[in-house]
């Protein structure tokens, strides 16, 4: 953009009342004062908790079905993750799916909650939960292994339904 074009554009057709400025200030103050008596939006956090809608992208979790994870350790989530938060090591299992994640680790410090992992997953095994309370006092605590990631399917049914309905 050239300098000439970037000059300030002033509205020239202000009425006298507007140019006096004082009435405009009064108008503005009326608005702010009126706002003082409208209800607040604040959620009193530790006591009141936000219940996210199904479309909410909380921390990613692994779906556990019939006692085992759905995940087959294909590594697509790990590949698609723009923040490189996911590390998967596959192993062989006797189950029909042949392959399972021996290690599945999400570095929650790296995670940006974009939901790409959920989108790319061919097994609907990793999904975004409604959990958002993630604070750590130690970087090591932010490494979520399978123990923290596995969640029984009943607990994430709303999200699964949401994903199905929006496919």
């Amino acid at each position: 953009m050239s300098l000439e074009k970037s000059t300030i554009i002033r509205k020239k057709d202000l009425s006298l009342l507007e140019r006096l400025y004082i009435p405009e200030i009064v108008k503005g103050m009326t608005l702010t004062i009126r706002q003082m008596f409208t209800p607040t939006f604040t959620t009193q956090y530790p006591e009141e908790r936000f219940q996210p809608p199904a479309s909410f992208r909380g921390r990613p979790v692994l779906v556990e079905e019939h006692g085992v994870e759905r995940c087959v350790a294909c590594g697509l989530c790990s590949r698609v993750c723009p923040a490189l938060a996911i590390e998967v090591q596959a192993g062989e299992t006797e189950l029909g799916k042949e392959r399972y994640p021996e290690k599945f680790e999400i570095n929650m410090i790296r995670c940006i909650f974009c939901g790409f992992c959920e989108e790319v997953c061919p097994e609907e095994a990793i999904i975004m939960s409604q959990e958002y309370e993630l604070a750590f006092t130690n970087p090591q605590d932010a490494l979520f292994g399978k123990d923290k990631l596995l969640v029984p399917i009943e607990k994430v049914q709303t999200r699964l339904d949401f994903l199905r309905s929006n496919r």
């Binding site: 294909c74 590594g75 697509l76 490189l84 590390e87 799916k97």
Partner: protein, 561 residues
């Protein structure tokens, strides 16, 4: 050779009249999709993927079995061809399972790639797929999944034509056709794992590499196999600073497109092994104790000075690079002043074949001799040195990385030495006799060259980092993980050993003994070899390139002493 003019996709090319269309197109950079055709195998023509339109021919023809002819006009991308390809792909995908997430081939799968490139993108098939056995151990090193097989017969042809054993066969008919071995037999020829590489889908997979990593997670470094004197060109797949697999790299002058199972499985595990030497060690009170580099180097320098020149012997190594051996022989001749210099041979007579495997089990015996690791005038050869140790004539021995104690009769001789320095990457029987051990970098941790039995110089490139090397700074191949790992990511931190290239260790000892070798990098050593050794004259790492180059002239130096 009569040549003919052919027009492919509007470009006129000139090709040998013996060529098929697919070969002629490939030579001129036009890619025709194919599954069953392989440049090193006979033409089978069963996959129909390479269908092209040839003007004046009523039907589409397969490019892999149609020879070029004068004035032929070929279309590989027009609507008719695309339509036919879509149909072929649709047929392939009818019974192909949706196994990509659990399939090791994913990421380097021809079917996967072609599905993206040449298929319609959706399936019209509602019926049940044909089910076949999965997870079959078809050979000691190969897993087989019959459902994934697209029946291209590449593996059958490989066994018949290259490995020379008819071990695989199709049975049944139609979409129930299945690949199998003869009853009671296994796919167990010494080249069996090449079928994994040529399999265009994930039907035949590497049992050793099974589920270890996805291919896109690894970095691939061009280097050469250490299994024998053939020096097969290979790619080293590394993830998290750990070698996970080796695959052959095509080089028609050396290994065609193949490598043996021994080379593929047994020549990389020691790099990741638990018994790696982690730091220099000095024997104190009968036990090897880890010490700093400076201490070990100073100790060697002072000890070596206390022996007479004729009491010292030096053994280079056919497992070390030319650079290591060259600097080592300079050190032996100029600094130690000994003429007793040679290296041990590792020839297993009889353990060889007419395909790739050589009896000489060391990758660089030719190179070691070429760069001067040979006895000087009236100097002792290897056997004489061992004999000399036994008789007490030789009191001090300096050896590069080689498990000498494993050779018959040598261990007993080593125990008689007064002073024994050895470079080693892994713990071995030899270390029991060593007074000082230097942690040597393996072939996967250093730059260098090796000369194969056909006098071909080839490059060895680092794929695994040691403490002194840095993936980004030292020009390593980098995977995505390597590029973006930060200091607090666990996956960025594979084990790194405190090992150094042998030539560097030798040069630091020489410096302490009064002779400065002015090398900073391996290619500086190679440049000096290129100046001083006649057969290497004029060569450089650039000229050696990724596929190697033959030595200039064969010198008098004999390969087999």
């Amino acid at each position: 050779m009569p040549s003919v003019k052919v027009t492919i996709d509007g470009t006129q090319i000139e090709a040998d009249s013996k060529r098929t269309i697919i070969e002629a197109a490939r030579e001129h950079g036009i890619k025709i999709p194919h599954f069953c055709w392989h440049p090193k195998l006979s033409v089978s023509g069963n996959c129909r993927m390479c269908l092209v339109e040839i003007e004046k021919m009523p039907k589409l023809a397969i490019a892999c079995s149609t020879q070029v002819a004068e004035g032929m006009v070929v279309h590989t991308k027009n609507d008719r061809v695309v339509h036919a390809r879509n149909a072929v792909m649709e047929f392939f995908l009818i019974n192909h399972p949706l196994d990509c997430p659990i399939c090791d081939e994913a990421g380097e799968c021809k079917l996967q790639d072609y599905t993206y490139k040449y298929s319609t993108g959706y399936s019209r098939f509602d019926e049940d797929k044909v089910h076949k056995p999965k997870r079959i151990q078809i050979g000691p090193h190969v897993m087989f999944d019959a459902e994934r097989c697209i029946l291209c017969s590449r593996c059958i042809r490989f066994c018949d034509e290259i490995a020379g054993v008819h071990q695989l066969q199709f049975i049944q008919r139609g979409d129930h056709t299945e690949l199998t071995t003869f009853p009671g037999e296994k796919l167990d020829n010494p080249y069996s794992m090449n079928v994994v590489d040529i399999c265009p889908v994930g039907a035949l997979t590497n049992a050793d590499f099974r589920f270890k990593a996805r291919v896109w997670e690894m970095s691939f470094t061009d280097t050469i196999c250490q299994g024998c004197a053939r020096g097969c060109n290979i790619e080293v797949g590394v993830r998290n600073n750990e070698i996970l697999r080796l695959t052959p790299r095509r080089n028609d002058d050396v290994n065609s497109s193949w490598m043996c199972d021994h080379g593929r499985l047994d020549t990389f595990k020691f790099v990741n092994a638990e018994n790696r030497i982690k730091a220099p060690m000095i024997r104190k009170d009968g036990v090897l104790v880890e010490v700093g580099w400076d201490e070990a180097i100073a100790r060697v320098a002072s000890e070596l000075k206390s022996f007479k020149k004729s009491e010292i012997a030096a053994l280079g190594s056919p497992f070390a690079t030319n650079e290591d051996n060259y600097v080592f022989q300079r050190f032996a001749k100029e600094v130690l002043g000994t003429k007793n210099i040679d290296f041990a041979r590792h020839s297993h007579e009889g353990d060889e074949d007419a395909i790739l495997i050589r009896a000489d089990k060391s990758p660089n015996s030719t190179g070691a001799a070429e760069v001067g690791v040979v006895p000087g005038d009236n100097g002792m050869s290897f056997n004489a040195i061992i004999e000399g140790i036994r008789e007490g004539k030789i009191k001090a021995l300096y050896a590069l990385e080689d498990d000498l104690a494993a050779l018959p009769g040598v261990a007993e001789a080593l125990s008689k030495l007064e002073f024994f320095v050895v470079h080693a990457a892994n713990d071995s029987a030899t270390l029991r006799y060593a007074d000082i051990v230097f942690a040597a970098a393996t072939y996967a941790e250093k730059n260098g060259t090796m000369v194969n039995f056909e006098q071909r110089v080839q490059r060895v490139r680092p794929a695994v980092t040691t403490l002194e090397l840095d993936r980004a700074m030292d020009g390593f191949e980098m995977s995505r993980w390597d590029k973006f790992a930060s200091h607090n990511d666990k996956w960025g931190k594979g084990p790194r050993r405190d090992a150094r290239s042998s030539w560097k260790i030798v040069a630091s000892i020489a410096a302490l003994m009064g002779t400065k070798f002015k090398y900073n990098t391996a290619d500086e050593v190679f440049n000096e070899i290129a100046q001083r050794v006649e057969s290497f004259r004029g060569l450089s790492y650039l000229k050696v390139g990724t596929k190697g180059t033959p030595l200039k002239a064969k010198t008098a130096a004999s390969v087999h002493a």
